[in-house]
Symmetry: C2
Subunit: 262 residues, 2 copies
């Protein structure tokens, strides 16, 4: 199971009972142009799932340029992956290519979107209206690609009421109500580390089952809740490792980082 929280301790799981099932965000879809594909087995490899959004973005860019069909080689270049990998990834969704021609861009956009569950708009609750929360709310790729910001919450009264990305900031005390009324299943934590676990617990208790965490700590969640984390400093540290290695191996012309000042 793809549960990232690998805690085999069953006794500790408080079994978050969502009580009244959170309203499923609009399940009406399908029956759209093109042929139908009875969902095959659903074993989509995790690595494939992680790449599908990249393909989707490249496909959108192609569609905007008016490209009707695309071969796996071109799409692979646009997505920055190997073409064989791309073909294998797409083959997991079904046989949506035409041999000798390539893939129909619009049709593939639809199929990838459907595989990712983006044929509907997922309501998202953002907690934290700091710089990061504002950046998220203003990020265009959000609302245009299958998501809708249903609320932005913050604990600072000075920012409550301010409008960000077309949504007015509400106080964090409204968290439970906002989640319930919007039916949001996805929450974004963009608060400082010391308040993240509390926010997380409240989100989970309110029925949120998918959490995107920007706070630099490991969140503790019950089984059944999916957490992904984005940590800016971790990415930088990985870069530092490779940079260090590069400097150590090829001591060339660059004078290296200014290590004197510390």
């Amino acid at each position: 199971m793809p549960s990232p929280a690998e805690s085999p301790a069953p006794a500790d799981v408080p079994d978050t009972s969502p009580g009244a099932a959170a309203p499923v965000p609009f399940t009406g879809e399908d029956t759209t142009p093109g042929g139908e594909d009875p969902r095959p087995g659903r074993p989509l490899p995790e690595a494939t799932v992680a790449r599908l959004p990249v393909y989707l973005r490249a496909l959108y860019a192609l569609a905007e340029r008016g490209v009707a069909t695309v071969a796996s080689d071109e799409l692979a270049v646009a997505a920055g992956v190997n073409s064989a990998k791309l073909r294998k990834d797409l083959s997991h969704l079904g046989s949506y290519g035409i041999r000798g021609v390539g893939y129909d861009v619009d049709y593939l956009v639809y199929q990838v979107s459907r595989a990712l569950g983006l044929t509907q708009k997922w309501p998202v609750v953002i907690v934290g209206a700091g710089n990061l929360g504002r950046a998220l709310a203003n990020y265009g790729g959000f609302v245009n690609r299958g998501f809708r910001i249903s609320a932005i919450l913050d604990s600072e009264q000075t920012v409550v009421g301010r409008e960000i990305g077309g949504v007015a900031v509400r106080h964090v005390s409204d968290l439970e109500e906002v989640v319930a009324t919007s039916g949001a299943a996805i929450g974004v934590i963009a608060v400082p580390a010391n308040g993240a676990q509390v926010v997380c617990d409240r989100l989970v208790a309110a029925g949120v089952t998918s959490i995107l965490n920007f706070a630099p700590l490991v969140l503790n969640v019950p089984a059944g809740v999916d957490v992904r984390k984005v940590d800016l400093s971790i990415e930088l540290q990985i870069l530092a490792f490779h940079a260090q290695r590069r400097f150590a191996e090829r001591c060339g012309q660059v004078p290296g980082p200014a290590a004197v000042e510390a």
Copy 2:
């Protein structure tokens, strides 16, 4: 077996100074150049490198709580990973644990920091002073953990001169000069997608070899330049996939209204 004579003082002399290495033209694999005492073979698996920052953060938290030694089980829980995985990861750095006891927290902090190349402060140039750039500049985990913001650049004259995180915003036209004078090898791209490739090219031309990209596109860089991307919408889309799957599968326990489409 950390000898008590060796102080685990984190501010030890970093040997990353370029020095005068033999100008080897090209070697397929380094033949373990010298360093044998602290550094065994250098093939640190990529997956391990990606986890070391997580361990480091957990170790810092333990150190602040005054914990002197920690067993792999506890540290694994704090880092959210399997304990066997953690031990294998750490074993790639060397044998820094004590059987029957655990790891010395301070000493391990130093060793992990050194492995990641964080015993020095890396100067970082941030391009883009929007919400995201400001969030990065104000992020505490930046300056406290091996990095120093040497400059923040933006193309908007209205924000030039504003101070963010203790650093005054400069105009993006100063990019080359800033990179040269600060010796920055790491650049962060926090500009909109349409300007990201241009900024990237200029950073690379100025000598930057490590780039952290927040713009939602695939950057084109020459060989030898390391790019890591952080894409907010991609993470959300992966969450959406799992959420969709969860909704489709929950037909057994939760009192759902009706079995959704098979």
